[in-house]
Symmetry: C2
Subunit: 166 residues, 2 copies
């Protein structure tokens, strides 16, 4: 990607000018920019596909995905914590979905001051339809990698993730 | 990450219910969620470090990085295109940096209707200081991977990226 290359040059040029280190030393920085660039690309493709196929947004899809996994529903605070993507206002998205009958807010049975958000039956149907398509896009996006390469990538990212875990 | 696991379960549970496929079939989806989760973690750590060490934001750092690489400056449209991270308003950030004397807007010599944004000497100094620290954080964040693993990850992401290129 031109963007990754430019960003890398910007960062490493600044450093080179000061430290005169060889490019090999910047491998972690290059890795980070490449990781970010891949994620940006995939995310942007998924956003576009959700828009064109379902006229919906990634944060909305993400929010429904979190609810799908929580049959008892989720408090707003839990929902916010679980979102995988940024760029959406959780309260605003929930309001929108509620208006369309895809989610409901219900008083928590244990604590009547708290609301829980749940998918409705219609919300669940709609999400399942989208999730099946979504997976087929993701399979295509990773289609260049062989099963062995996917396994390798999975393991390398797994090690990285464990190291990053708070 | 609990978040990745939850999201994966949400997505695959929905699919399993319909298609009864085995978990192995979801490898691309798992890979995507893991990639997203690693990127989110690293980005969030870098955001925190920029905040605590330099009282600045990632979009602001990103914007300065793009300018550092463009000694002739960039038009606002070019700047927007080159940003690697979301969550910042390019005009707003530029205004802020200009007020602090870190960037200037100059009339383009070829087309006097167009402004170009450039780092000032002070902006350049400040960026270089931040870039050096930034790289040391990134080196730490990837510190769990051996040089060989970094090379592997670089190659796998390189192949993925080429496939994703528009």
């Amino acid at each position: 990607m031109p963007r990754e290359k430019t960003a890398l040059k910007a960062l490493t040029t600044a450093l080179d000018a000061e430290t005169r280190v060889h490019d090999d030393h910047h491998v972690s920085l290059r890795l980070w920019l490449r990781l970010l660039s891949c994620t940006n690309q995939i995310e942007s493709r998924v956003r576009q596909s959700l828009q064109s196929s379902f006229n919906t947004t990634l944060p909305r899809f993400d929010l429904m995905a979190q609810l799908e996994r929580a049959p008892r529903g989720l408090k707003m605070s839990e929902l916010s914590q679980r979102m995988m993507v940024t760029g959406g206002n959780v309260t605003g998205i929930t309001d929108g979905l509620e208006k369309e009958g895809l989610v409901v807010r219900e008083v928590d049975s244990a604590d009547r001051r708290v609301y829980r958000v749940k998918l409705t039956a219609e919300g669940e149907r709609q999400f399942r339809r989208m999730a099946a398509e979504h997976e087929s896009w993701v399979i295509d996006l990773f289609g260049t990698l062989s099963p062995r390469q996917k396994k390798q990538l999975m393991e390398l990212l797994g090690e990285l993730k464990e190291h990053l875990a708070p």
